[in-house]
C-alpha cells in the first residue's frame, strides 16, 4: 500500500505543477483563443530569477523560508513583467490577424526566450539550493512526503482558491469572463479588453513563476531548457481538462500527473510519456472538448 501512496503523491506533486502552468494556458486561451507557446519559458524565467535572488540572499546570510519567500515574490513580479511584455510585443499587434500568425509569433517568442537565457546565463544545469527545511510535525503526519512536496501541494491548493476567487468574485474576473464569452460584446459594453488580456497574461505568468520556483526547490536544479517539456506537458494537461476552463486545467494536470506516475510505477517508466499522450488521445476521442470543457461556454 505504501507503494501505491508513494506513486499517488508523486503523481499529485507533478500534477500540481502541471496544473499551475496549465492555468496560464487556459486563462489566455479562454479570452483570445491563442495557445501561448512562450508560457513554458515564463516558468523557466521564474525559476532562474528566483535562483539569482536566492544566490544573492544566501550570500547575505539569509536562509530557509525567508529567502524562498522573498525570491518567490521577485520571481513572480519579474515573470509577470515578462508575460505582460511578451503579450504587448508579440501578440497585441496581431490581434486582428488570422489565428495562425499569433501562434507562429508565440513559437518564435518561445525560441527567443530560451536562447536568450541560454546566452545570458549558461547552457549547463545550475544547482538550486534546498530552501525548505524539514518540519518535524509535518514529517510525522506525512511520513512519505518530502517537505518540498508538501509545500508544492499546499501552495497549489491555496493558489487554486485564489484564482477561483479572482475569476468568480472580482471585477476584473467578471470582465475576464465577459471577454471570454464574447469579446466584441464586452468591448461594446465598455470593458477595456486590452487591459483584461494583459491581466490574464500577468495572472498566468505569476502562476507559472510560482510553479517554476517550486519545482526548482523540489528537484534542486534549473536550466534554460526546463520550460520546454514542462510547457508541453502542461499544455497537454490544459487540453485534457478542456482548454479555456479553469477547473479543467487543474483536473487535467492532476490526471496527467497520475497517469504518468501510475503508468511508470505499475507498467514501465520506459513509456511514461506514452501513457500521458495515449490518455490524451483517448479522452479527446470520447470527449473532444476535454474532461471539463464545454463547446460553447468558457471559464
Amino acid at each position: 500500500m505504501d507503494y501505491f501512496w508513494g506513486l499517488f503523491i508523486s503523481g499529485l506533486t507533478k500534477g500540481s505543477i502541471y496544473a499551475l502552468i496549465a492555468l496560464g494556458y487556459s486563462l489566455v486561451y479562454g479570452i483570445i483563443e491563442l495557445i501561448n507557446f512562450a508560457h513554458g519559458e515564463i516558468y523557466m524565467i521564474g525559476a532562474f530569477t528566483s535562483l539569482i535572488v536566492v544566490s544573492l540572499l544566501l550570500m547575505e546570510g539569509m536562509t530557509g523560508w525567508g529567502a524562498l519567500l522573498l525570491s518567490l515574490i521577485v520571481a513572480v513580479i519579474y515573470a509577470a513583467a515578462y508575460g505582460f511584455t511578451v503579450e504587448k510585443i508579440a501578440y497585441k499587434p496581431l490581434r486582428q490577424a488570422s489565428r495562425l500568425s499569433p501562434l507562429i509569433s508565440a513559437v518564435g517568442m518561445s525560441i527567443f526566450l530560451q536562447n536568450y537565457v541560454l546566452l545570458a546565463q549558461t547552457p549547463d544545469f545550475l544547482p538550486f539550493p534546498n530552501l525548505i527545511p524539514e518540519i518535524s510535525f509535518l514529517k510525522r503526519i506525512f511520513p512519505l512526503m518530502t517537505p518540498a512536496e508538501i509545500a508544492i501541494l499546499l501552495t497549489t491548493a491555496c493558489l487554486m482558491v485564489v484564482v477561483t476567487f479572482i475569476v468568480k468574485f472580482t471585477k476584473m474576473g467578471m470582465a475576464m469572463r465577459a471577454a471570454a464569452q464574447d469579446r466584441m460584446m464586452a468591448l461594446l459594453l465598455g470593458v477595456n479588453v486590452n487591459r483584461v488580456i494583459s491581466h490574464a497574461f500577468i495572472l498566468g505568468s505569476s502562476l507559472a513563476a510560482v510553479a517554476g520556483v517550486l519545482i526548482a526547490t523540489h528537484v534542486g536544479r534549473v536550466n534554460f531548457y526546463m520550460g520546454f517539456i514542462a510547457g508541453l506537458k502542461a499544455f497537454t494537461a490544459a487540453v485534457l481538462g478542456g482548454i479555456g476552463s479553469i477547473p479543467g486545467a487543474v483536473v487535467g494536470g492532476l490526471v496527467l500527473g497520475w497517469a504518468e506516475s501510475f503508468g511508470a510505477g505499475y507498467i514501465s517508466s520506459d513509456y511514461e510519456d506514452a501513457f500521458a499522450f495515449f490518455l490524451l488521445i483517448l479522452i479527446l476521442i470520447v470527449k473532444p472538448s476535454g474532461i471539463m470543457g464545454r463547446a460553447t461556454q468558457k471559464m
Binding site: 507503494y3 508513494g6 534542486g220 536544479r221 520546454f228 506516475s261 510505477g265 514501465s268 517508466s269 520506459d270
Partner: protein
Amino acid sequence: MGKKAVILLSFYFLVTVNAYGKETIKLGVAGSHSGDLASYGIPSLRAAELVVKEINTKGGVLGVPVEILAEDDVCKPEIATNTATKLISRGAHVVLGHICSGATKAALSLYLDAKIIVMSPSATNPELTQSGRYPNFYRTIASDDAQAKLDVDFAINNLKLKKLAVVHDKGDYGKGLAEYAKKFIAASRKAELVLYEGVTPGALDYSALVQKILRSGAEGVIYGGYHPEAALIVSTMRKKGMKTYFISDDGVKDETFIKVAGSYAEGVYASGPKDVSKNPLAIAALAVHRKVYSAEAGAFYLNAYAATQCLLTAIEKAKSTNYEKIGAILHREYFNTPLGKISFDRRGDAIGVGFSMYQVKNGAFVEIK
C-alpha cells in the same frame, strides 16, 4: 623452357632483388584518413609517424628502418577489405588499425589468412576479441562492455551486493551499457537483477521510478546515462531517505554532476577512463605532437602511440617478423606505453587500459585503487 618462363623468372628475380636491396620493416596503417571520420583516423596516423621517426633515429627495428604503408578505408567496411588486400600485397608485416569497428571486422579475416597481426587503437566492439574468431587481433582500447563489466564486478565483488537494479536513459550509450550490465549480472550468478527500467531524459522528476527502486528492494542501482538525470535520481533517492548504492558510468563522472547534486552526490560511484595525465610517457608523447603539428593531439592519439610501440617492440623482442613469434611476445611481455604498463590477455584485449572506478568524496571524484 620457353620464352614465357624466362620472362616470369626474370620478374621473380627482379622482385626479390628489389625487396632484399632496400629491406625495411613495413608497418601498415589503416584507418579513416579522409572523409567524415578523418578526425578519428588522422591522429593515429600521426602517432604512428612520430613513433616510427623516433625509432628510426635510434637505428630502427632489427637493425633496419621502419616504413609506414598508409591506406585509407574511410571507416567503410566495403572499402576496408580493399585496404586490407592492398596492405597485404604491399607486404605489410604488422598493421596498426583499423579505426572503426565495422571496418576492422570486415578486414580482419583477410589479415588472418595472410597471417598478419593487427592492433587497433580505437575499435571498441566487444565481439572483435570475445568471439575468438580473430586470434591475430589486439587492441589498446577497452571494449564497449568494459564499463558495464567494471560496474557490475564492483557492485558484486567489492560492495557485495545481492540485489541490483539497472536503470538507463533509453539512449544509445546508456541503454547499451545497461544491456551489458544486465547480461553480466545474469552471468555472475551471484546477484539478482530486481529491476530493469528506462527513463525519459528531461522529465520533471523521477519520483515514480524512485518508488519503484524502493519497492524492488535493490541494494544498488547501476545507471547507464548522463549526469542531468543521474543527479535528479540520486537526490530524489536521498531525499526519500534511501541509502541505496548508486553506481554509474563515464557520462556521470562529470564535475556538473557534483555541482548539481551537491551533498547528495557524496558516495556515488562512477567508472571513468584511467587517468594518464600524470604518466611521463603520455606527457612526452603529447609534447612531441604539439611540437611537430603545433596543435593538441586528437582522438585515440595515445592509444595509437601505445599500439605502434607495442607492435614494433614485439618485433624487436621476437627478433623476427614471424606471425607466431610476435604473437607469443605480445601475450607474454609487458609494454611501457603512454597508457601505462600494459599487456595483452589471450583474447587480445589490453590489460591495464580502460576504466577505473571513482567515488565522490568531499565534492570530488577520487579514483578507487
